[in-house]
């Protein structure tokens, strides 16, 4: 099908975009990469009255680092982040996760900010953002605020963004290279399809013992889901297969995935178990390396 008619605004600056959003209120949608939005409009699942196209707001397209904090402008294309040496150095978990987002033509257009603001529960970047304690810089005509990733994702396609707000930047706190490992793994029906289950794992090991761990899943709930019980099972233990098995078992019991056309809840639970074990083993192997 074809999209329903809409009015079109093309701001050149962040201020112009914020002004347009303030004027239009919840009648407007922000058009970034459009790789989910336009598909939903073509299917007439969405009929926004107005699109605020931020693709010409060049000031939102950047990747920087400041004292180890990685700052990614919301309009950064996923393919640019995928190949960025700065992202690889400061958040290799993101580099790995982006390779699971659809296909290259989609990543050429799709943006980091648009992916996060869309908040698809099967999407990879929300899991990465929660696993790395990323913060989101959000602006409106009235000012600016920052939101922790864990608070940003509210539920299925729902975030803490208000209709007049624009996500402008994602900040990933400094990566601690010494003894920190990472892994992103995912299973989907076909390459590039929506995930059945994905896991973003980080692991910090000193003298063979787990100091800290993060386990965050996409595809098992309405939003990226962290499982602290499984993380706690690792802390203080020897980083070995037995500990990983126990954490994986706990994670698979704590998640409450749904059944659908593609997989049953039981299968998704089994994937959580298997992917957790594999991801932790890979994270351990990478401990102490900056990037793989």
């Amino acid at each position: 099908m074809k999209p329903a008619p809409f009015s079109y605004v093309r701001p050149m600056t962040v201020e112009e975009a914020l002004f347009a959003l303030a004027q239009q209120g919840d009648e407007a949608k922000v058009l970034a990469g459009g790789q989910s939005l336009i598909a939903m409009m073509n299917l007439r699942l969405l009929k926004p009255r107005c699109l605020v196209d931020i693709n010409r707001v060049a000031a939102l397209d950047y990747i920087r680092q400041d004292n180890g904090t990685l700052a990614i402008g919301a309009l950064t294309r996923q393919s640019a982040a995928e190949t960025s040496p700065l992202v690889l150095q400061h958040c290799p978990l993101m580099t790995e996760a982006i390779q699971y987002i659809a296909h290259r033509p989609i990543r050429n257009r799709g943006t980091v900010g648009g992916n996060l603001a869309h908040a698809d529960p099967t999407s990879e970047l929300p899991a990465v953002a929660v696993a790395t304690d990323a913060t989101f810089v959000v602006r409106s005509a009235n000012g600016q605020r920052t939101i922790l990733a864990a608070d940003f994702f509210v539920g299925h396609l729902t975030t803490a963004l208000r209709p007049d707000e624009l996500l402008t930047e994602v900040r990933v706190p400094p990566w601690r290279p010494a003894g920190q490992g990472w892994s992103f793994m995912e299973v989907s029906p076909r390459k590039g399809d929506y995930a059945l289950v994905g896991v973003a794992a980080t692991l910090q090991v000193k003298d063979g013992a787990c100091q800290a761990a993060r386990l965050v899943y996409n595809g098992v709930a309405g939003r990226a889901q962290r499982v602290p019980e499984a993380e706690r099972a690792l802390v203080g233990r020897n980083a070995d297969e037995a500990a990983f098995r126990e954490a994986a078992s706990i994670a698979s019991q704590r998640v409450d995935p749904h059944s659908d056309f593609h997989a049953t809840a039981a299968y998704r639970r089994d994937l959580v178990n298997t992917l957790t074990r594999r991801a932790l083993a890979q994270a351990l192997a990478r401990c102490g390396k900056r990037s793989a």
Binding site: I38, D53, R104, I106, G192
Partner: protein
Amino acid sequence: MEQEKVTVTVNGLRYERLVEPRRLLCDFIRQDLGLPGTHVGCEHGVCGMCTVLVNGQTARSCLMFAVQADGASITTVEGVGTPSKMHPLQQAFWEKHGLQCGFCTPAMLVTALELLNHNPTPSRDEIREAISSNLCRCTGYQTIVDSVEHAATLMRGGV
């Protein structure tokens, strides 16, 4: 109906048109510019048939509005080669039977072009990864992988 002016360069030629904002880039290319080589399948970004190069990068033309392409340079299959002067990719698809019905071929050529522009010596796995964005219901993909591999050889001056 509100209309916007769009100026684009497609296959080296400059076009100027007035379009509704909701005009998809694929329909703009096919209907407003009369270039039907770019095909339209699913219209929601899954099948890959409408893939074109926008400023040298592959993009789904069903997931862009024509107004967004204002100022852009676009390459469609009509710009890849002509019957009398085929691109090595087209020659290779012909020689290696990289098509049967031909519906996916324009997008496969454009997608392979991006790959070979970045990577003149792709492995078969890298070729599979690149074309995984496009569906083909005839060939089973093997002959398409053969074709792209052969094109890479031709473009390096081999036979």
